[in-house]
Symmetry: C2
Subunit: 203 residues, 2 copies
């Protein structure tokens, strides 16, 4: 199994380099657990979903604690058949989920969101979950949407994606649960996610 | 068939509202052909792939003609089983592609990129193509990657995505061809795309 993300932080300010450096400090606690490589368009992070989603959350929360409008784009992927197996990506939740019916996975996902840490940073997210290589992929999508609606972070459905709103802790836990508990445990699942904070449109 | 995109423009400047308004002027010629709705996170565009990708290209090219660093995120989708049929999304290329073998689709895609208009705006793109609801989805992905490598806009492969570089005309034509000619014509295909221009990392 290979799990990782391509992550880009977009501060809407002429001081964007400074905001990006503030965000990168949020990654420091995770540098031993993740492989992190940056180029001119995005930062690759490879590792288990525990540190991976925590790192993405803390990167964005650190940037969003500043007053400037900031957004982030994340391409998350697990189980892509074109990527090599990587032992550092092993995930107990995924292994267990393989043998659980949909309603049990939904219940555990809701419990995980309820237990999420509170960061004190309110954010907006919209994301799409893709279950690849399976004929009945929409069953898992609809099961995931039911979970999202009961997660406490659901804002509304949009064409092609779902809007979440809330504390960065609960919102990124919701995303992690969607990523891990829906679609086959050994399958290829991806998420296309956009986060936003301090938008002047909401003032 | 329902075809559309959620599009967000991210100018890395404190004048971001002004850059976004410049970009939006690029959409004006397409307002009769597309349904366009904006909220605080993204702009929904629904319509046939001809005007849809032209509009996305011209939105980004208009913003990128200014000197500021600007990025864009696009979630493209066709054939999502959860969306209603929309006659305005009808696409001759898709209908024809249904009966064509892979090598013919690759050849027509290369020809379309060679014929793309030149905008004079150099851009970088990275994107992922997802073919949903099909057991052998990686065959179409590898077929698409072969086309990308021969497209003239290919820069390199990355984990989870492919980098393109070139004139906005050729780059967005490459994306449109990937979107239309790979994966089943009646199937559910999505693209997760990030574009960048005027990045200080490349200076």
């Amino acid at each position: 199994m290979f799990i990782g993300a391509q992550v880009s932080l977009y501060p809407m300010t002429s001081d964007f380099v400074d905001v990006i450096l503030t965000g990168l400090k949020g990654l420091d606690p995770y540098r031993n657990d993740l492989r992190i490589e940056t180029d001119d368009m995005s930062t690759l992070m490879v590792g288990a979903p525990g540190p991976l989603l925590d790192a993405i959350r803390d990167l964005f929360a650190a940037a969003a604690r500043r007053p400037e409008h900031v957004t982030m784009h994340v391409t998350l992927s697990r189980g892509c058949p074109g990527e090599p197996d990587d032992p550092s990506c092993r995930c107990e939740t995924l292994t267990r989920a393989q043998h659980q019916p949909l309603d049990q996975r939904q219940a555990e996902a809701r419990a995980a969101v309820a237990d999420a840490p509170v960061t004190g940073v309110g954010i907006d997210v919209q994301f799409s979950l893709y279950v690849l290589g399976q004929d009945r992929h929409m069953d898992e999508i609809y099961g995931c949407i039911d979970f999202l609606k009961a997660s406490g972070t659901f804002l509304r459905s949009k064409n092609f994606c779902t809007r979440l709103r809330g504390d960065a802790g609960a919102v990124f836990e919701t995303v992690r649960q969607a990523f891990l508990r829906f679609g086959p445990a050994e399958g290829h699942v991806t998420i296309d996610l956009t986060a936003s904070a301090n938008s002047p449109s909401l003032r």
